[in-house]
Symmetry: C2
Subunit: 317 residues, 2 copies
């Protein structure tokens, strides 16, 4: 028993040691890669199921979850936690849960009855490979798994319940699902910027903002820190959507990894359409600056979050 | 402020008073009706959303959630809590969450890509009324809402996290979703009772057993009480499925409120097919007796649970 305990302590110390560098150095490409690797390893672990899960379902879950993604939302969780002085190891389960909720929404949004997409993260979409029924179930399983992980692995319990509540709200009828429903219903006219922004605040912004809030919660952030993180997330979420719309009209399908020019072809309103391409770029830059201005209270600990905002504005995929 | 506080206290006392009778009297039809009314009122309250939820989505959520159902699972939550000496008012949010998970699973299972059903709870299915995209989103929103409710309204926090974990596991890839995936994949031969039972344990039994566990958790049940409740739930879950199969071959569609004889028509294995009709009835009776034998440790407080098991065996819908 004593030996077992020592091994556990050593393993934990090792993890802390390997993570410690992330708290000190200036961010670099290297850090982004290391973050992604940390997240991917944890996602791999969380997507193993025991016997009750039929093998094809498990394979389909891993197909969508472990596909090469930007991991923007889980990175935001980890970096928000870091900005508040938390340990990244303590934020990993929240990071994976957010990525699961995001991935479930992509799988369901891609279905023939919804956006009917064939390509996602550079691969055929889930329903193209496994069929519609399995794709629906993959999304359902990912959503349930996200909450199970948060409830099981985040300590103490009051942090876990706050995370579940934030995640449930962000994934639900007034946010992610509501935004997708409004988007599908269409009807945003070419001069109705508030209506377009309302859709994106719910469909994209809410989960991005929730990612930052979860990172703050698990790090024991103060109310003032949480407010700053959420405000950063709201600006960043809109900036992200504008660059998404810009990539939709001017990006490369091979780089972006999904079908492009689809919004214009199905009559959906977009930022470039409403504002023009250059004004959209300027708006994204303004939003990134607004986002970064919220980070001042964190000092140098939030430098990686500031860098991530610039990455969101300049991204090519 | 003082006046406001008094009103709150009075309202709470009133609720306790109206619930108190449920703890004392022998169960009767009246109690079943009162339970259902308690549950329906809470479901109605929990299915109101603020502005972010598009009106059609909200309407569709209420269409499926407030349709006349047996409310078996939420009743199990309330009665399990009562058996452990808990107050029903403290178990209502868990009861509603379980009904939301159950209703989400019905909405998704009924989709054309899954079981392709037109009738549910005596009404046209969600996708027949609102279209497939909305039906998928209704299920997603209900699942997220269930966890939000548990995380927000169950106190203390460690009860809430345990409930979220149990619900997440029961709704996930190794249980409800996994059972549906196995069911859709078919391949249960006419002599493979273990394979059939494995599907039903996951697809139906897991959420029934979780309902009892949730009721126990919110009432502060001991480990021994939780084990007994789960064992009762496992036996009851199988008995429920056998009677479901029996109703599928011999029930009235108008009473049951969904399409019948469908399992045989699409080649799915059923209990009557594997065991015969009379042996299936005997097996259901045995399972109900086994379920009730688990209730002995609760004494008279579990009488309503015993009655509910008999209702499950004798039900006509």
């Amino acid at each position: 028993m004593e030996g077992c305990k020592s091994r556990l302590v050593s393993s934990s110390d090792l993890k802390k040691k390997s993570l410690a560098t992330l708290h000190t150095a200036e961010p670099s490409i290297d850090d982004a890669d290391r973050l992604a690797s940390l997240i991917d390893t944890a996602l791999e672990r969380y997507s193993r199921f025991d016997d009750g899960c039929p093998s094809e379902l498990g394979e389909a879950i891993r197909y969508v979850l472990l596909a090469p993604g930007k991991r923007l939302r889980p990175r935001l969780v980890l970096l928000a936690s870091q900005a508040c002085g938390g340990m990244m190891a303590d934020a990993l389960s929240a990071a994976c849960a957010v990525e699961m909720v995001h991935t479930y929404s992509l799988v369901h949004d891609d279905l023939p009855a919804m956006d009917d997409d064939d390509l996602r993260r550079g691969r055929p979409t889930c329903h193209k490979v496994f069929g519609e029924a399995v794709a629906i179930l993959v999304g359902d399983a990912l959503l349930a798994r996200a909450f199970e992980i948060v409830a099981t692995d985040i300590k103490p319990a009051n942090y876990a319940t706050r995370c579940c509540a934030v995640l449930g709200q962000a994934a639900g009828a007034t946010a992610l699902v509501g935004g997708q429903a409004s988007d599908l219903a269409g009807g945003v006219t070419s001069d109705d910027l508030p209506a377009l922004e309302s859709i994106h605040r719910r469909k994209t912004g809410a989960l991005i903002s929730a990612s930052l809030e979860l990172g703050g919660i698990v790090a024991g952030a103060t109310a003032k820190q949480l407010d700053a993180l959420k405000a950063y997330g709201q600006h960043l979420g809109l900036a992200f959507q504008i660059t998404d719309d810009l990539l939709d009209v001017s990006g490369s399908q091979a780089t972006v990894g999904k079908r492009l020019a689809k919004d214009a072809s199905c009559g959906k309103a977009t930022y470039p359409q409403l504002l023009g391409i250059e004004p959209s770029r300027r708006r994204a830059t303004e939003l990134v600056e607004l986002a970064c201005s919220e980070l001042v209270i964190f000092g140098a600990a939030a430098k990686p979050l500031a860098n991530l905002a610039t990455f969101v504005r300049d991204r090519t995929r």
